[in-house]
Amino acid sequence: MAKSVVIYSTPTCVYCKMAKEFFKKNNVSYVEHNVAEDEKAREEMVGKSHQLGVPVIDVDGEVYVGFNRSELERAIGKR
């Protein structure tokens, strides 16, 4: 079944770019929120992750902070 992925990012964050490339490479579609501009998304991100760093990645309700390739591979069932 297709995974539901939400990425909270800022435009200047390289780990956000790496996360997005990771999902593209693995043919997993995602919704992206730019928390530098979208205040509502920023609050949502802080609420989900209880912290202030990007990226925050929500895979089917499981919340990951930062870009950790092996964790995300597990999350999308690649490992």
Partner: protein
Amino acid sequence: MLYDLVIVGGGPAGIAAGVYAARKKNKAVLITESFGGQSLVSAEVQNWIGTKSLSGLELAQNLEEHLRGQDGIEIIENDLVTKVDKTAGGFSVTTREGKTLETKTILVCSGSRRRKLGVPGEKELDGKGVAYCATCDAPLFSNKTVAVIGSGNAGLEAVHDLLAYVSKVYLLNRGEAIRGDAVTFESIKNDARVEVIMLAEAREILGDKFVSGLKYLDKKSNEVKTLELQGVFVEIGSLPNVEFLGDLVKKNKYNEIEIDALTQQTSQPGIWAAGDATTVLYKQNNISAGDAIKAVLNIQEYLNKNK
């Protein structure tokens, strides 16, 4: 199987070594967590020779692509060398994911990592207002008050990045003089939102769920003072990644690996080192790459002699 060479690290030094080792037809393997080294997070790199300007991510991708374009080099990624032991024929290298590799020689290109403050609250509030990447996280501190600790170039650039968003930045400096470039300091110090506090030593980061303050020792008056703020960006330099070597090689008092400047040899025959993990005076991408190449060429002589 016995390798000729194990390259530890995937930054500019490691990649340069990998490319040269492949062209020398060494039986070589490169082990790295990720590619690109510490410049990965830089928004823009303007001094990588041959390219006028590129992002840290592009630099990392170019390096990775150059390495993958070589025949005969083995790559182990998403892994990390955790231990090196001396053996009869050379060395045994152990990785976090449980691999063990036997090799004649090792080139250490493991670089360095950010130094932490080591004060109460830093660990507990990591990500909750304590941050180490202003380029990444500055927008999350819109209209907030933050502190940057450290006045090297990284600290000054953090202040610069933050000024696009925050309402106030304290720049705390432990010493009497700003350590970064005067040009960068000039560009930020006249902003009314910047307050520079010299001779200030961070003591504790305060906060429950998120950062709410910073205690520091004012070394002029010898008083502990408190700033009310929501973010602390730590930019106080780096530590070499050398723990996996134990006592195999000689290090200086900063824990940097001592090298022979002509050959990059360490005090341990069979181990070479290049880049930010070494005593090299200037920690620069171009220098790391060049020094690693020097090492690989010297390793050829060693391999030929010890056939």
